[in-house]
Structure formats: structure tokens, C-alpha cells
């Protein structure tokens, strides 16, 4: 009986090892899943959030910002500095806007606090590395993010579809 178990163990072990080898061999021919980052980029989810952007109205040729300072007050790190001026038509307009991304924590409070649709998140711009810390202090022209659209990234949708089940229950 002991002899039988001995041989059974050996052949069972041999079988187990061959199963393991077949799995690794299968994966060897299966192809890779690596994204080679600088050349290839993962498509971002539609609602992903990364950098903050000042919205520029192309028709009126001006920023939406009216320099109400709500974003600067909402900012927990005080990294937004902006100035505004009252124009001849009586409306306030932003003149300088500086956001220091070296202290920004991307909490999004400024975007929430803005009542004039002047600030928003950019979804496809997430490469924040710079050579000098000063480069992270960006003004209103830098924050328009006029950069080539990244290939493969999805366009952000305006509104995510509301879950149907939640609407039915409430």
C-alpha cells in the first residue's frame, strides 16, 4: 500500500507539474498586455479628472471668469491668486489668474464654487511633470490648455447617464 502511494504521488506530482507548465506555455503564446507609455496611452474614462482649466469663450473672445474670488476663497491651500477690473459696461472681468499647481491638491472645490462656468477639469491632460517648480505656477494663458488633443483619449461627455434603478426607487 505504501509502495502504491509512493508511485501515485510521483505520477500525480508529474501531472501537476505538467499542468503548471502548460499554463505558463499558454500565456507565453498569448501576447502581452503592456502599454508602452510614452508611445502608447490608455484611453481615459470619460469622466476622469486631472488638471484644472479656465474656460475661454471663443465667440466673445474673453474668459468666462468675472473675478468674483469665490474660487480663491474655496481653495484650501490658497493656491489661486486672481485680480479683476470693472469694465466700462459695468461688468467685472478677470485680468490676471494664477494657479500654483505645485500646491494644488486637485480637490475640485474651486470648480464647485465657480458660479459662472469659468473653471472646469481637463480629462486628457495628466502629465504634470516639469523641470522647474516655477513652471507649475500657471497663468490664465497657460491654463487655456491649448494643446494638441491626445490621441486615443475619449472626449468627456457633458453628463453621465443617471442610474435608472435609483430613479425608479426614489
Amino acid at each position: 500500500m505504501g509502495m502504491l502511494k509512493y508511485f501515485k504521488d510521483i505520477f500525480g506530482g508529474l501531472w501537476n507539474l505538467s499542468v503548471g507548465l502548460s499554463i505558463t506555455t499558454k500565456y507565453f503564446f498569448k501576447g502581452t498586455t503592456t502599454q508602452q507609455y510614452p508611445e502608447e496611452r490608455l484611453p481615459l474614462p470619460a469622466r476622469s479628472r486631472s488638471m484644472i482649466k479656465l474656460i475661454y469663450d471663443d465667440e466673445k473672445d474673453q474668459f468666462n471668469c468675472v473675478a468674483c474670488l469665490m474660487c480663491a476663497k474655496a481653495c484650501p491651500n490658497s493656491c489661486i491668486k486672481l485680480e479683476g477690473v470693472r469694465q466700462a459696461d459695468g461688468k467685472r472681468r478677470m485680468t490676471t489668474f494664477k494657479l500654483d499647481f505645485s500646491t494644488c491638491i486637485f480637490c475640485g472645490y474651486c470648480v464647485e464654487a465657480c458660479g459662472f462656468d469659468a473653471l472646469t477639469f481637463v480629462s486628457e491632460e495628466y502629465e504634470n511633470s516639469v523641470y522647474k517648480r516655477g513652471s507649475l505656477l500657471q497663468d490664465e494663458f497657460a491654463m487655456k490648455w491649448i494643446r494638441p488633443h491626445v490621441e486615443g483619449a475619449e472626449q468627456p461627455v457633458a453628463e453621465a447617464p443617471a442610474p435608472a434603478a435609483a430613479g425608479a426607487q426614489s
Binding site: I10, L17, G20, T25, Y27, F28, T32, T34, Q36
Partner: protein, 356 residues
């Protein structure tokens, strides 16, 4: 058709013509081996570099990665860059080392395995020295690695290195026995110790020894993996237990020598496995119409076996020390002795007393 024998004849003819021109024909007996050694060293260095690249690629693809792909086409020059980095690195030595063994250990580890390449027949007649005791020579000369590893572990004056050295000594001595015992049936059948002779026997017999001797083949591959200190038998250099094992205190060129020695051990044992069990330079039966030279077949089979050993490394988990000893002494040795017994009985029944 271009064969290995033709190449060897051509090269030796050219060499002897050059000797005659230089008027040193009487020195040929000394210069020929030196040239053979240099050629073999060049071949094995390039081949080992390729193997390191191959190992990284194999492991990467098994884990759905890409592996080295930056330096050169397909990352082929990655190992060249690594070699340059290793040779230009500072040689850090422990202060309280045992100087002479510490210096000699990497050299012995490299040379002992490299010497095994001498009797490997790449093709009919394409062999540095076709010793008539080829297998015995390989087993004897590669056994020197245990001395090198033990010396490296002892002279480093480091507890991890010492433990690694002792483990390695225990392991290599244990697995030397099934390695030799798995070769014995082949020697019994063929009646020769020469590697070329064994291939010739397989040619005349018309079959490879893997078919009647599948268990001997499995035992040989297992023991050879253990002999080369490769995973899953890499307890002498188990990172999680012993840092680097016996080569913890080695850096730069000396570390490269150990590394090279390990890979050459893989090449030598795979080459012996190909010669003994897979018919050496003989073409695959159903692919005979390809008319490739013998050394191409040999290298193809060699790469297949090396791939198998690499697949072992990236598939199986590492054994514990007691499991390793159990496996060696309680499984491999009884099975190989049984294999010898059964082979002897079957051969005696089939061919009677006057076999061979």
C-alpha cells in the same frame, strides 16, 4: 551540403596553410587548442548573452509583459549593455575576506563549467576534442563547481554566503547521484562513453533515447537544473532567505563570472541532454526534407531544452531545503536505480547475453 565537418576541415586547412606560411608548422599542436578555446569562448559568451536576453523575454511573455525592448532591435543589445556595466563596475571586496579562495572561486566556477564544452559534439566531427570518456569527463569537471561555490561562501566571511555555500554543496552532491544514475542506462545500451559514439548509435538504431528512456530524461533534466543552481532548486541563492547566497559579497567582474558559469552550466547540461536523449545533430525524422546542417539541428534542440529549463524556473515555486533533500534521495535516486534495473532486464530479454 554544408556540414559541420566541412567547416572544421576548411578552417583547419586555412590555419595549417597560415602556419606553413609563418614557418611555425611544428607549433600547430600548441596553437590549435588555443584557437579552439578562443573560438569556443567567443561562441559561448555570445550564446550566454543571447540566453540572458531569451530568459528575460521568456519570463516576460509568461507574465504577459514585453521584456527588454529598448536597447537594439527587440532589446537584443540589452545584455551587451549589462555586460559593459558589470565590467566597469567597482569591485567591492569585504575587508576580512580569505583572499586567495575569494579570488579563485569565480574563476573556478567559470572554468569548471566552461571545460565541459570541450567534448560537446555540435555536428559530426565538429567537436573540440572527442574524448572516448566524454560523459565521465563532463560529470567530473562540472563537479568542480561545488568547490568554487563552497570556497566563495567560506571566503566571503558572511553568514549568508556561508549558508548558501553549504546548501549548495549539499544540493549538488545529492543531485550528482541521480544525474549519473540516469546516464547509466544509456551507457549500458550503447556501450560507449563518447558523446559522438552515443549519437552514432542513435543514428544506426533509428530512434532517440528519449523514447525508451523517458524517465531517465526527466531525472536528468531535473538533476541538471538542480546542478546549475536554478529555480526551483535555487536554494543556495534564495533571495528571500539568503540575500544572494554564495555570491552575496561579489560584485563587478567576479559576479559576472558566477553568472556566466551558471548559464554555461545550463548550456552544458542541455547539450548533454540533447546528445544523450534527443539524438544530437540528427535531424528530426519527419522534418528530414529540410536538409539543414547538423549543427543547426543541434542548436534548435539545445534551445528547446533550454526553453524547458527556463519554463521550469518561471513556473515552479522554490523547494524548501528538506523537501529538496527528500526529493533527491527518496524519489530521484530510487526511481533511477529502478530504471537501470528495468532497462537491464528488458535489454537482456530482447538481445540476450551477447548484446552489443
Amino acid at each position: 551540403m554544408l556540414t559541420g565537418e566541412n567547416i572544421v576541415q576548411l578552417v583547419s586547412g586555412l590555419l595549417h596553410w597560415a602556419y606553413a606560411q609563418a614557418g611555425i608548422s611544428s607549433w600547430a599542436g600548441i596553437i590549435d587548442p588555443i584557437i579552439a578555446a578562443v573560438v569556443m569562448f567567443g561562441f559561448i559568451s555570445v550564446f550566454v548573452m543571447f540566453l540572458v536576453w531569451m530568459e528575460r523575454k521568456v519570463s516576460a511573455h509568461m507574465q504577459s509583459r514585453i521584456g527588454p525592448n529598448r536597447v537594439g532591435p527587440f532589446g537584443l543589445l540589452q545584455t551587451v549593455a549589462d555586460a559593459i556595466k558589470l565590467t566597469t563596475k567597482e569591485d567591492v571586496k569585504p575587508v576580512n575576506r580569505d583572499k586567495i579562495p575569494y579570488f579563485l572561486a569565480p574563476i573556478v566556477a567559470f572554468v569548471a563549467t566552461f571545460m565541459g564544452m570541450v567534448v560537446i559534439p555540435f555536428d559530426k566531427g565538429m567537436v573540440v576534442q572527442d574524448l572516448n570518456v566524454g560523459i565521465l569527463y563532463i560529470i567530473a569537471i562540472t563537479g568542480f563547481t561545488v568547490i568554487a561555490i563552497l570556497a566563495a561562501g567560506w571566503s566571503s566571511n558572511n553568514k549568508y554566503a556561508l549558508l548558501g555555500g553549504f546548501r549548495s554543496a549539499a544540493q549538488i552532491i545529492s543531485y550528482e547521484v541521480p544525474l549519473v544514475l540516469s546516464v547509466v542506462p544509456i551507457i549500458m545500451i550503447t556501450g560507449t562513453l563518447s558523446l559522438s559514439g552515443i549519437v552514432e548509435y542513435q543514428k544506426t538504431a533509428g530512434y532517440w533515447f528519449i523514447f525508451p528512456q523517458i524517465f531517465a530524461f526527466l531525472i536528468f533534466i531535473t538533476s541538471a537544473t538542480a546542478e546549475a543552481n536554478r529555480a526551483p532548486f535555487d536554494i543556495p541563492e534564495a533571495e528571500s532567505e539568503l540575500i544572494g547566497g554564495f555570491h552575496t559579497e561579489y560584485s563587478g567582474v567576479k559576479f559576472a563570472m558566477f553568472f556566466l558559469g551558471e548559464y554555461i552550466a545550463v548550456v552544458v547540461s542541455s547539450a548533454v541532454a540533447v546528445t544523450l536523449f534527443l539524438g544530437g545533430w540528427l535531424p528530426v525524422a519527419f522534418l528530414g526534407f529540410l536538409h539543414l546542417p547538423g549543427f543547426v539541428w543541434f542548436l534548435a534542440k539545445l534551445l528547446l531544452i533550454i526553453y524547458l529549463i527556463m519554463a521550469f524556473r518561471w513556473t515552479f515555486p522554490r523547494l524548501r531545503v528538506d523537501q529538496l533533500m527528500d526529493f533527491g534521495w527518496k524519489v530521484l535516486i530510487p526511481i533511477s536505480i529502478l530504471n537501470i534495473l528495468i532497462t537491464a532486464i528488458v535489454w537482456l530479454c530482447l538481445y540476450g547475453k551477447g548484446a552489443q
